[in-house]
Symmetry: C2
Subunit: 400 residues, 2 copies
Amino acid sequence: MIAKNYKDMLQAKSVIREFSEYATKRGQEIGYENVFDYSLGNPSVPVPDTYTENTIRLLQNENPGSLHGYSPSTGLLSFRQKVADSLNRRFGMNYTADHIFPTSGAAGALAHAIRCVTEPGDEILTFAPFFPEYNPYVNLSGAGLKVVPADTQTFQINFEKLEEMLTEKTAAVLVNTPNNPSGIVYSADTLQKLSDVLNRKAAKYGQDIFLLSDEPYREIIFDHADAPYVSKFYKNTLSCYSFSKSLSLPGERIGYVAVNPACTDAKQLVPMMAQISRGIGHNCPTALIMRGVEDVLDLTSDMSIYETNMNLLYDKLTELGFTVVRPGGTFYIFPKALEEDAKVFCQKALKYDLILVPSDSFGVSGYFRMAYCIDTEKVKRSLTALERFVKTEYPDAMNK
Amino acid sequence: MIAKNYKDMLQAKSVIREFSEYATKRGQEIGYENVFDYSLGNPSVPVPDTYTENTIRLLQNENPGSLHGYSPSTGLLSFRQKVADSLNRRFGMNYTADHIFPTSGAAGALAHAIRCVTEPGDEILTFAPFFPEYNPYVNLSGAGLKVVPADTQTFQINFEKLEEMLTEKTAAVLVNTPNNPSGIVYSADTLQKLSDVLNRKAAKYGQDIFLLSDEPYREIIFDHADAPYVSKFYKNTLSCYSFSKSLSLPGERIGYVAVNPACTDAKQLVPMMAQISRGIGHNCPTALIMRGVEDVLDLTSDMSIYETNMNLLYDKLTELGFTVVRPGGTFYIFPKALEEDAKVFCQKALKYDLILVPSDSFGVSGYFRMAYCIDTEKVKRSLTALERFVKTEYPDAMNK
């Protein structure tokens, strides 16, 4: 019979999508260059030319049968080895190819990692604010997602609530740093504390608790800082990565899971993920994309535009009286709305052709997200609109 | 906790893989050109040059941001529209883009189609002999696979057994024509009878019964025959296609589900599949591959080599006394073994460097599969080995 739960999901509307669709419609009326569309996290800088040149060379020179042939069920060995080498070099880890499982982006990585370390009915904890897709990612796997409330002062971890909510039912904890939507990078201190809690609770309950680390924004770090590598802090870590943002290849669906070599059953988890693939019809990312990416692992698109945009927005937002934690990375910023109901606030902003996304679906009320992966020139023009919006609708904001 | 069912799956050995690994090992000893490796269904003819040229042109000329950008959750509209047009032109259907859901090959297509039309606990019937991956495809979705025994005279459908086994619990029937492993193409007569049974049972039980049609071999048809298009015969049909074989692109993971426009909830099924993707981390095939394939939809690799190989093998097998139904398509042939235990038979063949796969995992005992997607020159050389094998080990076979 027609599957009821998936049919029911068609009724649920995505707020991000609603605002994004409005932006497209409005763009048709007044020209999209006049819509300050901060709704979507789509990279705005091109892939490095080296990637394109490499891929053309592969298509021109390689035997098509081997270039386009089936990959092993655990992915191309060359890709896995090169990812391990790159992570070891950059983060002082000791991965081998056996610890790397290529996937169709971070979504594919999480789909496999979640199924690997949970049984149906297990709980996974995550921290508000969080990427709303974690709901279907976790809940449709058979596990259940529980959300630890935000520490809205810093958007680091609310440890008091974590201690309360982490029980025998918790199979895994899911973190996302640098964070969508807050732009915050977890500090080494935060990660060490988290590791301590997980080790203590795991010992108390006599069971493994896994750390699923969703890291698509790992390469977008501001102020020349180094983001701590999550897996360094806790052995039972599965790092879920995507090249969507670092190489601006979101449509090409390429990423991986990296299993910490000290993890429980470390050598078995990747073969298990290959079994999981059989059930969910994944069967590896495309071979051509693995081949193209494996030779540019240490390159990124030009990320400096995101930092430029962040600084422009952060300065203007604080000047206008917004409460906002300064992002340490990503292309998101997450200010407090100027009235309690963020949806009403974002609706009012539409009058100024500012497309902001209210925070409710991220698990926090009263905030909004701006995705500033757009042209800097447009960011600059949007500042005038932002100022006009605030001064007209919230004349007292700057005096608070 | 570590997921037990996936861990347990690591113990199960794939017979196809075992024989294939032996072939690789033996190749290292005596040179792979001397191993008559009929174990794997990997296409042996290259992708059409037009595909490669198109893809290079896309990489050279397109804006990388739009070429590599996120696809909509239901896939690229251009790809969907062109697939619909091609199917309408070739098979007299009336698909629109709304009925086409792009997937990562037939495995991805089945993963979505199965979840769309079943609730956990529902049964799916398939027919022996069948592709062994149907077991994880179905069983890991939450539905259960039941296998209708083979009609070994023709390898068409055993309707007597189908009538017995099709009950209120049956949510869908899964067919694969042209068939792996038998190479048989279901006749129009078979498909009409199947449709009649499904319509009658659906009316009797007052419920929809869906037909999942797995068609990766649709373009590999012999004797210039036209294979009947399954969806023409039954309205509740979801056709699951892959370009892996027709374009020799198995590593690039590209295919689709085509929902019959007269199907129950036809317009909702594709949006539902996009919801299913969120749960299984699929999120569309890669954009570059969709763009490359959409302009060569009516092309195929040169399939004539498979027919040449089939004829060489069929003639020699019948000459040597094998019972074998002549394939109508694919690159498989499925003769009866010369002793009851097909595994023993295939083990003996290894002495002659013939890599044959015993039939047990395909749901029939006493047969073996040969995948003749290899060079014709090698097929010719293998005939001598085959003859020597039979005459030495089964000297009476030709007199039966």
